[in-house]
Symmetry: D2
Subunit: 333 residues, 4 copies
């Protein structure tokens, strides 16, 4: 950690600060500039409250040299992690397509969609049983029943299940689920993250709407530090001033996360854009940009032709997209 | 709800859409412009999925005319709500100062601070027992023990307690707390919000880092629709590109929220800025801008003189600020 | 334009408003909802000040139905525009690579780089002679001399020149330039835009750091409405809370702009990320996402091996990238 | 400047970097941490390209210790600057109200409004003659004629004129203006800023929509370094995800700018919110937060009663607000 002092701080105050820092078990290197003095803190600085130090009258600014995340840090784990879900491998060169409806609605729906996406090349199936909704008046999912329908679809297709958990108390219901998804709004639900450390299955952790990459990694660290290292990260759009799409897909996060961590990086173009016709170009872009996989909403509604344009792709659109995705993957690998 | 169709949509497609909307129990007014057709949907549109309609090929854009929040909507509740905490009244002209340390650390600390802030004019005391921390390696609060220490401080001073709940399962521990605070990261923890509907005490709901005013109101609606109408809202800074302060205090949210809702609006300048020396000017600004109250971090640490500049004010700084706050309040009321 | 009135507005006030709007030459359709009244304004609403109407006491909200941009609007120009620069075609299926150094530094430098990028497949050359710099103390470019060096490089390679204009008064110096670039900071320098309407050469208009797509299109409209229709748009990153990259590349703007306008869309991954090693993945992503071209910084500095990692790619890195870009282009076209 | 190296960089590469930095005239202090090496650069680092150093393969991050702004830096100018406009003093305890219409429309209008705001306590008058407009089809101001009308109003009231300059070439027309305003969109029009260094009158420099405080100060530095030290800064709202107001007024910028610079800080609540009824609470908040002055839009339109709610206050609303502003100023001073 580096502490830059303000101009003109008295020698006595500097000594006081150094004594305090040394009492925390740190060694201090002093560097006197033309205009300002800089302290280099050597030792385990993880217990130092950076905000507190920064707020001291005499301090101009503070910079942490080593990131506070360890278990998900590529510096300490240079080889990319492979997450295995049944026979499916994700990461370190293994690319995965995850697809399915936003919400599980009926057995027929989920089975039909699962078969279609499998035929098109998906190797995992998604489907929401517990749905976070901004409004208390909106449909919140089929819950336990939805999970049962997902299992039926898995039996019919062999596709492992990815589905969202919102509440610690629902965890027992998820015993037979293959991958637990944590949604953007729960990325910093720390008690929930800690609980997932005791679960023996992979976690797909979505980036919050306004969270930095460092915060995303710290949330992964919560799960890993509690005992479960099988974490995949998911970029799904951030909130910016730009209002033509629901969120702004931050694709440069993909190569940047690859530098920072060895965990697999998945991209969700459906939630990022909120507009079905933008999903194919953004899915292709994410693939070209180095994502380890995509999670895409596919919906099948033969009765209401009006749903054509919803956020979800129709199975045939997904099949067409999947072909191009695999072709782009060939080229950039 | 208003649905603007794209230029050149066929009459047949328009009829199909109208039939579908009418099947949802709505009446449709058609308005033909020079260049575009607009449908006005009359009736209960709360069940219409605005994103779905917007995504239809033939639709240019959709606008909801009536907000989807009812219970916290000033349109239906023109008189400002007064929330009562013991003898303390908040809202509708009643101004409140809430103060105390970020974390409860010891009996001596919390009692000392509570006495000091009471003497300075605070009528509620804050103090964290369960602390959300970005890093799994950071101090997460004294938990149940912290709650006990808060009760001791209440006994000594008579100040009601405001403290944060993070986990549904901790709710039984909060039975004797006066006001439950929901932090920014849990603003959209919908199961937690719903549970608070069954609690017979006021809730202080903080705005999330990247949440719109409408989303904040929808979260209040969750609590109210589940049975608990005693909700106070708290502006505590949003995340923007600006990096000189921890967050950007969005003070114009205060008068805007007063227009939209009848609930009391509290401002937290401590978390918004993250810098102690910016707290007094922002506390005064919030008061002048019409806030119904302030929640301010005050910390007492006579041993470590180094903490002078932390995010928290010292008791004597708070006392000085409180005097000015009450004077500004006199002027703008 | 649609005007949604507040609940409970008196009939008299509504009549007053309608009279005022009719005086502006508009016809008004009235639609009475269960709860609110909506006015549909038919006719030429381009002269109506939307902010003024929205601010009226009785008005809840206003929505413009037809976008205020005409000349760059795909609704009126369904076929994609092809911009020609010498023999080079851009847009409507014609893909272009623009490459070169950030600043022109010397004849040797610009000629060397121009030859290298041409060999790798670039068909236009970029190079800054007039440089916008945040600090008054930074190098601001070789100016007129830089333009001369660009012309020498063009003579040596045949590559047309793309270079930035910052000041109306420098326009005479740009007579022999092939494409004038307008930088992000000047996207709303309206007098400059208007002047470009009288210039007989293509303009590459970069999106401002915090500008919406609509504002970008309105700036293109300035140039086109003044007489010059050969405008290309450039996405180069927006400013968000995310701080790992210099800006956040908003790639979903590419397919969205393709919907809104018939103008070619170029992407600049160099300025968007500010980090050389992120340029290749983002260049590939932009290509896969449907961009009509890329503008990439390439720098050649054999002496200072330390510059390896700068924002600019080295010629050999660019050559490797270009191959992949063309391969991705093959796949997604 | 501090340069943090990556873990495991070879001693040879470190020596190379140090040699390169020493060649720039700097002395280097080396600090070896448990895990990383940190270089402290001592000397004049203003010529070091921070982005270049940061982009080097071996570098983890870089931190500038001394800000690159000098002339507007409070570190070197601890006493607050007083800007004088005729008899009016601004800054260092001198508070100013600037008021007037958005655009000058007619002699009657500007004279009437000027008289009204003077009576209410304004000591400078604002009024736009050259108007930046997002759309090329919108009214762009009365230009030279507008400036003449402002001079008439000055003659009638004695109030000095504040008005916006957009184009270097219009500068001769502004000779008799008292304060030149530079709008948000031109905050980084560097040629224009440099030109203002040669002008012998105060400049009111507005913060750009997406500009950091440091960028605002660097723009002030442009003017000051070119010879004109009479600069006032203006916070007028930044662009964020929040969409209830036109912009988000960043009031904590006021005390933060007071720390960073000795220049006066003005706040514009009219443009920040875009909604007349939010102007009074935000004007009071800005005053309580320590602004040196306010610039407020006041419009007088007795004919069209419909304009009641526009962004501008009516003279009587302004008069009522001004009283409260002066009362708040009394309290917080």
């Amino acid at each position: 950690m580096i502490v830059v002092l303000k101009h003109g701080v008295s020698a006595e105050k500097v000594s006081q600060l150094i004594a305090w820092l040394e009492a925390l078990g740190l060694r201090i290197h002093i560097s006197n500039g033309e205009f300002q003095t800089v302290l280099g803190l050597v030792g385990d600085t993880s217990s130092v409250d950076i905000d507190l130090v920064e707020s001291l009258e005499m301090v101009d600014s503070v910079k942490r040299v080593t990131e506070p995340f360890k278990m998900c840090n590529r510096k300490f784990h240079p080889e990319s992690m492979v997450v295995e879900v049944g026979d499916v491998k994700i990461g370190a060169g293994n690319f995965v397509m995850i697809a399915g409806p936003c919400s599980v609605e009926s057995e027929e729906q989920i089975v039909t969609v699962a078969k279609a996406v499998k035929a098109a090349g998906a190797s995992l199936m998604r489907g929401g049983a517990f749905k976070p909704r901004t409004s208390p008046y909106d449909f919140a999912g089929l819950k336990a029943e939805g999970l049962e329908l997902l299992k039926i679809a898995r039996q019919e297709t062999g596709l492992p299940i990815v589905t969202e958990l919102m509440n610690i108390n629902d965890l027992p219901l998820f015993e037979d689920v293959d991958v637990i998804q944590i949604g953007a709004r729960n990325m910093q639900n720390f008690d929930l993250l800690r609980e997932l450390g005791h679960v023996n299955k992979p976690v797909l952790l979505k980036r919050g709407l306004a969270n930095t990459l460092k915060e995303l990694l710290m949330s992964a660290e919560y799960i890993m530090a509690s005992g479960n290292e099988r974490v995949m990260l998911c970029e799904r759009g951030i909130r910016t001033f730009s209002d033509y799409t629901r969120n702004t897909l931050d694709l440069s996060a993909v190569p940047m996360l690859h530098e920072l961590t060895h965990l697999p990086i998945i991209v969700d173009p459906s939630h990022a854009t909120g507009i079905a016709r933008l999903v194919p170009p953004m899915a292709l872009a994410a693939t070209a940009g180095g994502a380890d996989g995509l999670i895409i909403e596919v919906h099948n509604d033969p009765i209401h032709a009006l749903c054509d344009g919803a956020q979800s792709l129709r199975p045939e659109e997904f099949a067409e997209l999947a072909k191009k995705v695999f072709a782009v993957r060939e080229v950039v690998q």
